[in-house]
Assembly symmetry: C2
Homo-oligomer: 204 residues x 2
């Protein structure tokens, strides 16, 4: 039975319903752990599902940061260090990764709390997650304040990508499903991916 | 075999390889048709895989618009009309939807070219796609110029959502897989979704 909900109808949902509804509405999203290091040297992990492709030239990615009305370790660390990492969540670590969304004190590393392993590479000052098959090192590039709800778009330039070489096809495609990548809908519902197929470049 | 690619290594790939590589790197994305209407009354559809959740209060979504160095019908129409729609691509229409990524002349409607059906509702001036199970009507709210590659973040306020009532759980969750929603990796690789499970709210 078709249902029409207006802006006012959505605002009238209770807070948790509305959060789940709007978060799941846009469909499947990727799930990433963002790795950062604080000025005090504490390694931090945060769970994000809002990573968006910005462009291939230069290679760059963005993500949405919640309002800075409370302390955001990920944000503070990115601004302090200039570097951060994106680590793709896969089937083997999604439960540990989900635990990184809990609110730990600033002095406690989510690596320790989740049992995931920090991994370092010369080109990036922030910690990667060893267990992630696709590791992306980024350098902060720009930020945009989104007035409608006080969130931020954070844009970074890719400084390094670490992944299994055999996962890159000759065409450049990386097959996320072959690497056991998962998708997330909303904040908590995880999905396996099964390839349907590759469609040719569309012409009129 | 682990492979490390630097920023320079990625820039040295050929244009098509680099486009595929960076587009697939961030994992699975949702696939949406954006419906708009031109000042001349021509209905337009564009294929987008960069829709991102902005917030639940007010309910709002964003997407990334390619540089305006060539004519962008979707952009021009959104600015002219103020309204646009997001239509979730499902298993039954993904091939037709993909065809909307072809470059048609401004006078030709992608509805006609793809065989998809326009659908109208009082609250939104732009056309929905009848065959989409989740239809979201938006009002343009703000835009942000991304300096790194001249793209734009377009943010809209949700004015209406049309979907099967039984798809909304009591918790507010919309199950995109139950509605045959698909994911896309890069620009051309489509995936079915299979639910693994819902994880509880994480606490330290």
């Amino acid at each position: 039975m078709e249902k029409k909900l207006s802006h006012a109808d959505i605002l009238q949902m209770d807070r948790h319903q509305r959060r789940n509804f709007v978060n799941t509405l846009s469909g499947i999203k990727n799930a990433q752990l963002i790795g950062t290091r604080s000025a005090d040297g504490v390694d931090n992990l945060g769970l994000f599902n809002s990573v968006v492709h910005i462009g291939a030239t230069p290679p760059s990615l963005g993500f949405i940061m919640r309002p800075l009305t409370v302390e955001r370790q990920t944000y503070n660390n990115i601004k302090a260090l200039g570097h951060y990492t994106l680590n793709q969540i896969n089937r083997n670590i999604y439960e540990q990764a989900h635990q990184a969304s809990a609110k730990y004190d600033a002095g406690r590393s989510e690596f320790e709390a989740t049992g995931l392993t920090p991994y370092f590479s010369d080109r990036c000052k922030a910690p990667y997650v060893k267990e992630a098959q696709i590791k992306i090192g980024l350098e902060f590039a720009e930020e945009h304040y989104i007035q409608i709800n006080h969130t931020w778009l954070i844009v970074g330039r890719i400084v390094e990508v670490i992944l299994p070489g055999e996962a890159i096809a000759e065409t450049g495609h990386v097959d996320t499903a072959a690497l056991d990548g998962v998708g997330v809908s909303g904040l908590d519902t995880y999905y396996d991916l099964e390839k349907i197929g590759i469609l040719p470049y569309a012409r009129p």
